[in-house]
């Protein structure tokens, strides 16, 4: 089986999940967490000459407002992402993000990972190597999902599927309320 077929299989399964997940919530009353406030503006931020390196908080701010595919809540409110699970090294141009699905059998895990990955790809300079994976020990099929997310070709193929892209884009839209 070549990699393109694999990528296709990945999207097919994702789609099944999306189609079946639409009607009934897997977890109707999840735990929610306080929304953290906006980053406070400092004098250095306003100083023309000082350079601000990209730091963990900045990456966290990029991803915390992503919408959960199931709930009208952000990933931060569901504690799917936390600042302590974000690691960035500006000089070496690497970013690593761990995310924690709300339940170990969450079928949305791949989709959440994909949304995180796409958000970072769109928001960070080209030079960064972006690694998105599940917090170790928090999901039943952790390895499979991590492998899918790490495979560039599979991610690219997934985004060529317009239905999948639609769901990802919805997760990434700023909420209109």
């Amino acid at each position: 089986m070549n990699s393109h077929q694999q990528a296709n299989r990945f999207t097919q399964r994702e789609l099944q999940v999306i189609m079946s997940g639409g009607t009934r919530l897997e977890n109707a009353n999840p735990l929610i967490f306080q929304r953290s406030g906006d980053r406070l503006l400092t004098a250095t931020d306003e100083d023309e000459d000082a350079a601000d390196p990209i730091d963990d908080r900045e990456i966290f701010d990029l991803i915390r407002s992503i919408n959960d595919p199931e709930h009208p809540l952000s990933l931060k409110e569901l504690n799917v992402v936390e600042q302590m699970r974000v690691n960035v090294n500006d000089e070496e141009s690497t970013v690593s993000v761990e995310f924690t699905p709300t339940i170990p059998h969450c079928s949305m895990a791949t989709l959440i990972g994909l949304s995180l990955k796409v958000k970072l790809l769109r928001s960070l300079p080209d030079r960064f190597k972006i690694d998105v994976h599940i917090t170790p020990g928090t999901h039943a099929s952790e390895d499979a999902v991590n492998k899918q997310l790490a495979d560039k070709e599979r991610v690219a193929a997934a985004l060529e599927n317009s239905q999948l892209l639609e769901v990802v884009n919805q997760c990434l839209s700023t909420r209109t309320m």
Binding site: I32, D45, D52, I54, H71, K119, S123, S173, R175
Partner: protein, 1016 residues
């Protein structure tokens, strides 16, 4: 007569056989001015009306109908009767004639002299002979209009028709599809329902024929000339469906069904319709459906992601509960409200015990909506919820849990307009008063700022309601607040504490005077606390001071702070002193509502402030000791204190204020100042005084005299104006001559028109011209400043001389030395000035002076730009961007097409200030771009994208915001730029400044979504 007859026959002939449509108008003019009668017309038409050719008959009827449409009001009852009989008969005729027949009937039914019985017979004929839905659009509309006219004039007769009328209407409207006709049909149905027509056995039929449109889904075609909106249709259908409780048994199941829909607007419409039912229905209609309605509402509110659905659901629940609250209790039946609320409580209450799960908020909001619907409902809900919440609060130990519980509690503490206790009734919370205060006080001592913030909000809510806080509770609360002000440095908490103190002090001033103010005073003046603590104390003092009794205690404390800053005993910085002044100004704002506070400022605060500033200035001159009160930042902060207070003075104190200030500044009369230890004969308005900084005190003169009401006469105004003119032209100290010019302008603006004013203006204009023309003069900047402020003063009041002055400013744009200042001057001219020449200072400001100025001068500016040398062009662009960015949005939008080339030019101008102000004026326009912009997108994109790498951070940010705004333009116009924008925005993603990256990320994300599935 015979001649007339032949004329008429000619007209008829030409219309009917000659097919000349214009003859109808000529005929009706003839009938209107009495040349022929309707009878003659009918006679003349005789042959055509009885022709065997349907087309000819049609033409005949058409002519008659068109004439009737013009002349129906002049018909006699007899004529109407005959004509109606004719038309009714024609309804049975060939189908090509029917449209004209209906037009004629429509005209006739508008007559005021309809014979008795005619309405019934017309309607019967229509219902019998016509199948409405097989007619064309315009004819169907005729039928509805006939119904509407007859319902207006012959209501009694129609009601006599009984259910036949309803049946006829139902049959005619069944299947209608056009929105214009639907609006008419809904109007007929609404009339039927609201005016008490007997629906007989056709209730269900009428409901069916109307409810088939519910929920309305209508998107008007683009550029729809009729302008019918979905909103209009929704509201008129809703009025029909909810107009009578007879529909309840059909409507309520329909609503429950439609709530299951996947379309959000259908859900919202259903919920809003349900809320509207609450107003007309009684318990009887609702009873059977309550469980179903409740479970639908609950499902929608707890699952939705949309605030519109949520708020519609909550209002629907609230409407149901208030409807049930209105029902009269029967001795033999159970309390329906109680029954329904226990259902709500059963489903929601247990979620409140899980403060970290998602459903806690939807459940709380549902319960709050139910409780807010009536006093009785709030009694029932509170009795169940408050003890449970209090118990939960005490059992939980995590701050996050406690905070959620307290936030939920807050929603129950604040009564709504509907649930407010009537006079003589107690607050529903009286029973829990003790434990509520206990919980709030314990929360105030927690370590979590979020929890404390919530606690202050609950405290304010409790304090607002009589009987919920005993005197000792108030005192305890004040002590907690004082402690928080002194100890807590979290900015959110501090501002919440200050806000809470403000609202409580308004109701319980005594506790604040006796406990909070002395404690804060001690802390500020102790000289031991750090600046942040002092700043919080000062802010708190300002916020509690809304009543005269409190102001009399708090304002002197702030004065004392200023005094000790002057003597240098506590080491206050300039920023701190300015902050104290800002607090004093906040207190002064209350003078507007309370004359007592105004008098206090006039008698005590202003003389003391003037005295302190004068002392400071004299000391600096004599001893070289520099007091913070001579700093121009501090003086600029003192100005608004005085001008706010003076603007609120009533006539007598205002005149005294003017006299005192003028005699102090003109003659050195210090008698009204406290601690009179000043040398006599101080000369404050001499430019020699500048060495010691005395001249800058002129800003205080401005504060006192320029903000008084216009009716107050300023004594010795001519001498004062002359001195101010001298000072502003000769002084070399920037702050002093600018203040003098502003003061001069403030007085000129209010001076009544007349010879005296003309003389002053002539003199000053001459002086300004002389100075400006002498290019080697050292005082050109001074002259320019005076020119600018006098122009503003006159421009605001539409004085005829203002054009001459502003023309001088335009001319200065090409001046090598003053060009740039002149350009910035247009910013001063167009924006609101904070300390003088604004409406708060009672200045003479005409409405829309900006638009007028722009309309009169935009061409001058464009011409000036085109003819200016290359290096001078930037001044014109800067002036333009100042003017345009101060115009109201609506004017910007209409003027933009003409100015767009110039603004685009300004974007590529090298001056960063010009770039920035142009961007800031473009950005709001881009959110709703005018047509003209569409043709300039190419130029706009290339300039904006180039600016995203500008060396200035603010320019980069502003240009990215503009690029972001452009993503909201209609997709087809901007989609061609997508690839280019995405590529260009990849660069600022790696900008060294975080604020720039943030804007780049936001803009790029939107551009990615553009044209992508699920995006936009």
């Amino acid at each position: 007569m015979a001649a007339d007859n032949s004329v008429l026959l000619g007209l008829v002939e030409e219309f009917v056989s000659g097919q000349v449509d214009s003859k109808a108008a000529e005929t009706s003019t003839g009938v209107k001015n009495g040349q022929f009668t309707i009878l003659q017309l009918v006679e003349a038409l005789g042959v055509s009306l009885s022709s065997s050719q349907p087309q000819t008959r049609g033409r005949g009827v058409q002519l008659l109908s068109q004439v009737l449409q013009e002349c129906y009001s002049s018909l006699s009852e007899r004529e109407v009767e005959v004509l109606l009989a004719f038309y009714e008969n024609r309804l049975k005729d060939h189908y090509v004639i029917i449209p004209h027949v209906l037009q004629g009937l429509k005209a006739l039914t508008k007559c005021s002299v309809l014979p008795p019985g005619s309405a019934v017979s017309v309607l019967k004929s229509i219902f019998q002979d016509i199948h409405v839905q097989s007619l064309m659009l315009a004819e169907r509309s005729c039928v509805y209009n006939i119904l509407i006219s007859l319902m207006e004039s012959k209501e009694e007769e129609l009601k006599g028709l009984g259910a036949d009328f309803i049946f006829g209407f139902v049959q005619s409207v069944d299947g209608e599809r056009d929105p214009r006709n639907l609006l008419l049909a809904f109007q007929v149905a609404r009339n039927i329902i609201q005016r008490g027509y007997d629906l007989g056995k056709f209730v269900e039929e009428l409901f069916e024929v109307m409810s088939c449109y519910f929920p309305i889904d209508f998107s008007p075609p683009p550029s729809d000339p009729r302008g019918i909106t979905q909103e209009e249709l929704v509201l008129s259908l809703r009025a029909v469906l909810t107009g009578t409780s007879q529909f309840a048994e059909f409507l309520l199941p329909l609503i429950i069904e439609k709530l299951d829909s996947d379309i959000q607007s259908a859900k919202v419409d259903s919920l809003q319709t349900l809320a509207a039912c609450g107003l007309t229905y009684s318990h009887k209609e609702l009873a059977e459906f309550l469980p179903g309605l409740w479970s639908s509402i609950r499902r929608e509110v707890s699952q939705t992601a949309s605030e519109r659905v949520e708020s519609a659901g909550l209002s629907a629940l609230s409407a149901l509960v208030s409807c049930l609250s209105r029902s009269v209790l029967n001795s033999d039946s159970e309390d329906v409200l109680q029954v329904f609320l226990s259902l709500v409580l059963k489903d929601c209450q247990h979620h409140l015990c899980e403060p970290d799960l998602k459903l806690v908020w939807p459940s709380a909001k549902l319960l709050q909506a139910a409780a807010g619907a009536s006093y009785r409902a709030s009694l029932i809900v509170s009795a169940a919820i408050i003890p449970a919440l209090l118990e939960q609060y005490n059992n939980r130990t995590q701050c996050a849990h406690r905070r959620t519980l307290l936030e939920v509690l807050q929603g129950f503490v604040q009564p709504t307009a509907l649930s407010r206790p009537a006079d003589g009734e107690d607050s529903v919370l009286v029973a829990f008063q003790q434990s509520l205060c206990g919980v709030v006080f314990s929360a105030l001592t927690e370590s979590s700022a979020g929890l404390q913030v919530t606690a202050t909000r609950v405290l304010s809510a409790l304090g607002q309601q009589p009987g919920l806080m005993a005197q000792t509770d108030v005192e305890k609360a004040v002590d907690h607040l004082s402690r928080l002000i002194l100890e807590e440095d979290d900015p959110k908490l501090s501002s919440a504490v200050v806000e809470c103190s403000g609202s409580l002090a308004h109701l319980h001033p005594k506790a604040f005077i006796s406990r909070l103010i002395p404690r804060l005073k001690e802390e500020i003046l102790s000289g031991q606390s750090d600046a942040a603590v002092r700043q919080r104390c000062v802010t708190a003092l300002a916020s509690v001071s809304s009543l005269p009794s409190v102001v009399q205690e708090s304002a002197p404390v702030l004065l004392q702070v200023l005094a000790s800053a002057h003597t240098g005993s506590c080491g206050f910085s300039v920023e701190e002193v300015a902050a104290v002044c800002i607090s004093l100004q906040k207190i002064a704002e209350h003078a507007r509502d309370s004359e007592e506070i105004g008098r206090f400022f006039h008698d005590i605060i202003i003389p003391h402030l003037l005295g302190l500033c004068l002392q400071a200035a004299l000391q600096t001159r004599d001893a070289g000791h520099s007091s913070p009160l001579t700093d121009k930042a501090v003086l600029s902060a003192v100005v608004p204190v005085m001008s706010t207070a003076c603007a609120a003075l009533r006539s007598e104190s205002a005149s005294r204020m003017a006299a005192q200030a003028v005699s102090l500044f003109l003659d050195g009369d210090v008698s009204f100042l406290p601690e009179n230890a000043f040398p006599s004969k101080i000369q404050l308005l001499q430019s020699q005084a500048e060495s010691g900084g005395l001249s800058q005190l002129v800003c205080l003169l401005m504060a006192c005299v320029c903000s008084l009401p216009r009716s107050v006469e300023i004594p010795e105004i001519d001498r004062l104006l002359l001195q101010l003119e001298d000072l502003s032209c000769t002084c070399t100290h920037l702050f002093s001559f600018t203040s003098a010019a502003k003061c001069f302008a403030g007085l000129v603006n209010k001076r009544p028109a007349g010879e005296a004013l003309d003389a002053v203006l002539e003199r000053v204009m001459k002086r300004i011209s002389v100075e400006l023309e002498n290019t080697s003069s050292a005082q050109r900047t001074q002259a320019f400043t005076l020119l600018l402020w006098v122009s503003k003063a006159l421009l605001l009041r539409y004085h005829p001389l203002s054009t001459a002055l502003t023309d001088q400013l335009f001319a200065l744009l090409s001046d090598p030395a003053l060009g740039s200042q002149a350009a910035d001057g247009f910013g001063v001219l167009m924006s609101d000035c904070l300390d003088v020449l604004n409406r708060g200072c009672h200045a003479d400001v005409r409405i829309m002076y900006r638009q007028r100025f722009f309309a009169e001068n935009s061409t001058k500016l464009v011409q000036g730009f085109n003819s200016a040398e290359q290096e001078k062009k930037s001044c014109y662009l800067k002036a333009l961007s100042h003017i345009v960015s101060n115009l109201p949005r609506q004017v910007q939008l209409t003027e933009l097409p003409a100015l767009l080339p110039l603004l685009l030019e300004a974007l590529s101008c090298a001056d960063q200030a010009v770039q920035l102000s142009t961007l800031s004026c473009l950005q709001p326009v881009l959110l709703e771009p005018p047509e003209a912009l569409r043709n300039q997108l190419e130029a706009l994109f290339s300039r904006l994208l180039a600016l995203t790498t500008s060396p200035a951070m603010k320019v980069r940010i502003a240009s990215l915001q503009c690029v972001h705004a452009l993503s909201r333009l209609p997709e087809h116009t901007v989609l061609p730029f997508r690839a280019r924008v995405l590529k260009a925005l990849a660069v600022p993603l790696d900008d060294k400044k975080r604020l720039v990256r943030k804007e780049a990320v936001a803009a790029r994300a939107e551009w990615f979504l553009l044209g992508s599935p699920g995006g936009r």
